[in-house]
């Protein structure tokens, strides 16, 4: 009883992964052979980049503030108050910044992509596109993929910057940590590789969110229910991918940068 169900699940998982890889491969092939539409790219960049500002800034600030406060409460017990800034900064740059910013992007942008493409699928607009001699990947996936790949690291950088500034405000002005030490320790312990790690992660997360969400939209089942399901799955799968990939990327990039 259990074994066939498990078998079915595993088979389903692999077929999904196969389809996903197919779309990603098709997107890269399209990038090599076709000039992507500049206008669609800019439109997507506006939607993903500019319109995610409020969400990303709020996330960055809230995370920076609470991380600073919590770190301070613990470090204060061992008289290491001035190291707070370093912890916040390293944590924000390499882990929390990319992960939380990209989770928010997955929720906002991934859902929108899957819903839009899913609706196009169920109303036969994708079929119409194909009859007009246009590959859905060229026309729909590539601009979204490019825009998400460009926007995600920028949004992450923004979240990190805002987060660190917010943590400094909390640390130096609310909790009374010495501002000069706070900044000095922060600079001393934050390596350029921490920043680079975060940006690399964000770039990959952005690409993954776009590919997964577009795939979910394009493989949407019939009806409003299908679109709803595709949207939910796009957000869930993108988020899980971000979280799981983050762990492995941390291991890999640390190896790479720190020998």
């Amino acid at each position: 009883m259990v074994v066939p169900i498990l078998q079915q699940r595993v088979r389903y998982l692999f077929s999904e992964l196969g389809e996903l890889a197919h779309i990603a491969g098709e997107a890269f092939r399209s990038l090599r052979h076709h000039r992507p539409s500049w206008r669609d790219f800019v439109e997507q960049l506006h939607f993903i980049g500019v319109k995610s500002q409020s969400v990303v800034i709020t996330t960055g600030a809230a995370t920076g503030m609470v991380l600073c406060a919590q770190t301070y409460f613990q470090f204060h017990k061992v008289k290491m108050d001035t190291a707070t800034g370093a912890v916040v900064s390293v944590g924000m740059c390499s882990e929390l910044g990319p992960v939380l910013a990209c989770l928010m992007i997955a929720g906002r942008v991934g859902a929108a992509m899957a819903a839009e493409l899913g609706t196009m699928k169920v109303t036969e607009q994708i079929d119409a596109l194909r009859t007009l001699a246009t590959h859905p990947v060229d026309h729909l996936v590539v601009p979204r993929l490019l825009a998400a790949t460009v926007a995600a690291p920028l949004l992450t950088a923004e979240a990190v910057a805002v987060g660190i500034f917010a943590s400094w405000m909390v640390g130096a002005h609310l909790l009374g940590i010495d501002s000069a030490y706070y900044v000095a320790n922060m600079n001393r312990y934050t390596a350029p590789t921490d920043v680079v790690t975060g940006l690399i992660k964000a770039t990959l997360f952005g690409a993954a969110i776009a590919v997964i969400s577009c795939y979910k939209g394009l493989s949407c089942q019939q009806g409003a229910e299908g679109v709803g399901k595709a949207t939910t799955e796009a957000v869930v799968y993108s988020s899980i991918t971000v979280l799981v990939a983050n762990f492995f990327l941390t291991l890999f990039l640390t190896r790479l940068f720190k020998g």
């Binding site: 839009e116 036969e124 607009q125 079929d127 119409a128 596109l129 194909r130 009859t131 246009t134 590959h135």
Partner: protein
């Protein structure tokens, strides 16, 4: 030339096409009739490879569509124009952007030329001054006509119409029939339409194919089919409910 050989298609447990065969020569005007849910739209979508058959071949000018991948199909599809049953306009684009879609992608015309071509195409379907409207702002019949303009603007060789006149008032329907006939006559296209409207079938086709129970049941010149004495065809064409049938099932 389009040839369908032994086409089988089912969706899950439900069989739709059971070994359909047909052959349509270049420049013909054909209408496909058949019961609602009988698989006419599915058949039409196979002709342009929007659906993959479970078994069988679809040959367009000798090329088997089932053997081509999506990118190779794009080349073949350039020969086709298709009007969808529900129009399938891109709802995030304006009417102008919809109709000029292929022209924009091909980048062969200037903006001014495209404006002119779109205005002409819309004129043909008797729509004026709606270029900047979004599909959601149009009525069903208007959308259908915009879909038609989008399909004919790039002068395809083969036109597929899925119920071109359903949802239009009788006069507008007759005008669309005239347009389809004119396009067929003047542009020498192959014209394949699905319709439920026998008057329309008479106007736009020289030959009628009847799809029944997954296969082509009847095939012949329009006049013959419309006056056929075969009970199945006769009942369908004249809308007669057979005495022994009790429900839609």
């Amino acid at each position: 030339m389009i040839e369908v050989r032994d086409l089988w298609k089912s969706f899950g447990p439900q069989p739709v096409l059971l070994g359909t065969c047909l052959r349509i020569e270049k420049g013909e005007a054909v209408v496909i009739i058949g019961r609602s849910g009988g698989g006419k739209s599915v058949l039409l979508k196979h002709l342009i490879a929007l659906l993959q058959p479970d078994r069988g071949q679809v040959l367009v000018d000798g090329q088997d569509l089932c053997r081509l991948d999506e990118r190779q199909l794009l080349q073949v599809r350039r020969k086709f124009g298709m009007l969808f049953q529900m129009a399938a306009l891109f709802d995030s684009l304006t009417v102008y952007e919809n109709v000029s879609f292929v022209l924009q992608r091909e980048r062969r015309h200037t903006e001014a030329q495209m404006r002119k071509l779109v205005a002409e195409a819309l004129e043909m379907v008797e729509l004026r001054g709606i270029e900047e409207k979004k599909p959601a702002e149009l009525s069903g019949g208007m959308r259908k006509r915009v879909g038609l303009a989008r399909a004919i603007i790039y002068r395809p060789e083969i036109l597929l119409y899925d119920e071109p006149t359903t949802g239009l008032d009788p006069v507008a329907g007759a005008r669309i029939d005239q347009l389809i006939h004119r396009v067929w006559e003047q542009l020498h296209v192959t014209s394949i339409a699905v319709t439920h409207d026998m008057a329309s079938a008479r106007r736009i086709s020289k030959r009628i194919l009847m799809l029944h129970e997954g296969g082509i049941y009847a095939d012949g010149p329009s006049a013959d089919i419309l006056s056929s004495t075969d009970p199945v065809v006769h009942n369908f064409v004249n809308g007669i409910v057979p005495a022994d049938s009790q429900s839609f099932a």
